[in-house]
């Protein structure tokens, strides 16, 4: 036990002395959170409305009403320039108000066919404005008016989706890349061989490396969650212990994959493509940055079995929805299965020389 402890301390020392590695490990996930946090992929975009008024201010009422709609971002321009912008995809809709408006004559509203959602919503709003104006001139008409009633709900933001995903992704990155690169280097430089002539038990050494990485991951998670809470209104309601359990389980899966890759690779040049083949599809398709809900049927089904999907879903449920371990039992079972498979592979494939 003493030796395991000493090796772990030495491992941490070595890790923290590699300043760049520390920086990237702790801040790269944070950087991604900030970057994607600002882009705000979740928001229904504002509708880019190109507006050309050929009536020389005769329809002031209409213009004021249009400008009051917050969903519209209005670009004033000539008909030609606005239609060009529409073709380039810079506008969603272009409305040209003719010299005089004739009721009964259709008013063309040009829309960008690539953006049907924005086009439809924009059309409804514009139509509504015209109807309102028309109705106001007929005081006798009684109409039913809907009124929005605000209900306080837990407001989940994109950050609540993204940050737990990044946490899961960091566990994967750390497990696979750090173990694979470090062990191939130790193997290549003959360090493992040198250790083999000492009475040290290999399992002690592996243990120390695993614990070292778990400590770093814990630190990484703290930085991530802390920043989320302080700067991004992260809706963290999770039980840290549940998060820890799932995180460790996920780390074991990916660490074992790292050891397997280190086992079959002779140099760093072989590690990089192999690790990327495993890491990239998961990073893009496991619902880290974007929900998997939009994936087509088969892709949705298959990505549901990715270990990173299990991990990201479990972390998200626990951290944001406050799920218990029982609530994420499916994910835990999935990770457990992957854990067995990858630990078995690691034992079969890992070599000291």
């Amino acid at each position: 036990m003493r030796l395991k402890w000493l090796l772990t301390v030495a491992g941490l020392k070595m890790f923290f002395r590699e300043k760049e590695a520390v920086f990237w490990t702790l801040f790269l996930p944070l950087f991604m959170v900030v970057l994607f946090g600002f882009v705000k992929f979740d928001q229904f975009g504002t509708i880019q409305l190109g507006l050309t008024d050929l009536s020389h201010g005769k329809n002031e009422e209409l213009m004021t009403a249009l400008r009051q709609i917050k969903t519209f971002r209005i670009h004033d321009g000539t008909e030609e320039s606005e239609r060009k912008a529409l073709e380039k995809g810079e506008r969603d809709l272009v409305l040209v108000i003719p010299e005089s408006l004739q009721p009964g004559q259709p008013l063309p509203l040009y829309w960008n066919e690539a953006k049907p959602q924005e086009g439809k919503v924009g059309e409804l709003i514009v139509q509504q404005i015209f109807d309102d104006i028309a109705l106001q001139s007929l005081p006798g008409v009684k109409r039913i008016q809907v009124k929005l009633q605000g209900v306080k709900s837990r407001k989940l933001t994109y950050m609540d989706f993204l940050l737990p995903g990044i946490m899961a992704m960091s566990i994967m990155q750390m497990g696979i890349f750090s173990v694979a690169f470090v062990f191939v280097d130790l193997k290549k430089r003959g360090v493992l061989r040198r250790l083999k002539v000492t009475p040290m038990k290999p399992v002690d050494f592996i243990f120390a490396h695993v614990i070292t990485r778990l400590v770093v991951l814990l630190l990484q998670a703290t930085v991530l969650i802390g920043t989320g809470l302080l700067f991004f209104n992260l809706n963290f309601t999770g039980n840290p212990w549940n998060l820890f359990v799932v995180g460790v389980l996920g780390a074991i899966v990916f660490l074992a994959m790292g050891f397997s890759i280190a086992g079959v690779s002779k140099s760093e040049d072989q590690v990089a493509p192999l690790a990327n083949v495993i890491v990239l599809p998961m990073m893009l398709l496991s619902g880290i940055f974007f929900s998997r809900a939009n994936l087509p049927g088969f892709a949705h089904w298959i990505t549901g079995w990715f270990p990173l999907t299990f991990l990201a879903d479990a972390i998200r449920s626990i951290a944001i929805d406050g799920a218990s371990l029982k609530d994420v039992i499916w994910q835990i079972l999935g990770l457990g299965l992957w854990g067995f498979a990858s630990v078995f592979a690691a034992i079969k494939l890992f070599r000291w020389e």
Partner: protein
């Protein structure tokens, strides 16, 4: 008869269709410097690695300090010190930390300073491996092989790639370690190194030992057989010139 500390009997190793070590036997006495000489690929390293428990023994027996290597690999590891050809250490730890850690692998608390002093690296105790010169690295490797106060120290081509000064410095260190009671087994392909440093040498070629005796005896036997060099023996060599010009004492890169 001096005490036998290493007894190798009919040792064999085969890789696919290459017989790397072909039925060799030799004994090493306590506190001697024993050299295994031979060209590259003669089987020197394979022989050492079998004795050091790094490679399985195909057939034959090795006894180290009375322990049968095949049956007690763990006990053998505890009683030997090993410097491997082209092996390295963790780079993010200082020499001092590395020695302490290696000591702990044997469950020992080591006096890192004393060990570094032994190989004349005391002023480098806070340096990293990557900051050392070739000769310093080899000397550090020897210090690391001494953490467990081993009975036998195995050095695999310790001076390969070193300049003449660094080589001579390493010889001094090896002699000093022997004088403190250790037995040393080393491999080399430098003949003058074997002649200067080793008490006895075994010459290996194609996996076999083709001669085993004191260097002096081997030379005398050769001369008795009527051997003469074609060229007249010179009283100095180019290496002597080099050392005379650049100085015998070691110049360490800082």
């Amino acid at each position: 008869m001096p005490d036998i500390i290493l007894d190798v009997r009919s040792l064999k190793k085969r890789y696919d269709n290459l017989i790397a070590v072909n039925d060799i036997s030799f004994q090493v006495f306590k506190q001697e410097i024993f050299g295994i000489l031979g060209p590259n690929g003669a089987g020197k390293t394979t022989t050492l690695e079998m004795i050091e428990t790094l490679r399985p023994i195909d057939s034959g027996d090795v006894f180290l300090n009375g322990l049968e290597v095949k049956k007690n690999p763990q006990k053998v590891k505890i009683s030997i010190g090993v410097q491997l050809q082209s092996s390295s250490f963790f780079d993010k730890l200082s020499l001092q930390e590395l020695l302490s850690l290696f000591g702990e692998l044997y469950g020992r608390k080591v006096d890192a300073n004393k060990l570094l002093q032994e190989v004349e690296l005391q002023e480098k105790k806070d340096a990293r491996i990557s900051q050392l010169s070739g000769g310093q690295k080899q000397r550090f490797s020897i210090a690391a092989a001494l953490v467990n106060d081993p009975v036998v120290l195995f050095l695999d081509e310790p001076t390969t790639g070193l300049d003449p000064q660094a080589r001579r410095h390493l010889w001094d260190v090896i002699r000093k370690i022997r004088s403190e009671g250790k037995t040393i087994v080393l491999t080399t392909h430098y003949m003058e190194e074997a002649e200067e440093l080793c008490d006895r040498v075994a010459i290996m070629d194609y996996g076999k030992i083709i001669a085993l005796a004191e260097p002096k005896t081997l030379i005398e036997e050769l001369l008795k057989s009527g051997f003469t060099k074609e060229r007249v023996e010179r009283l100095a060599t180019l290496e002597d010139v080099f050392l005379q010009l650049t100085g015998h004492s070691l110049r360490e890169e800082q």
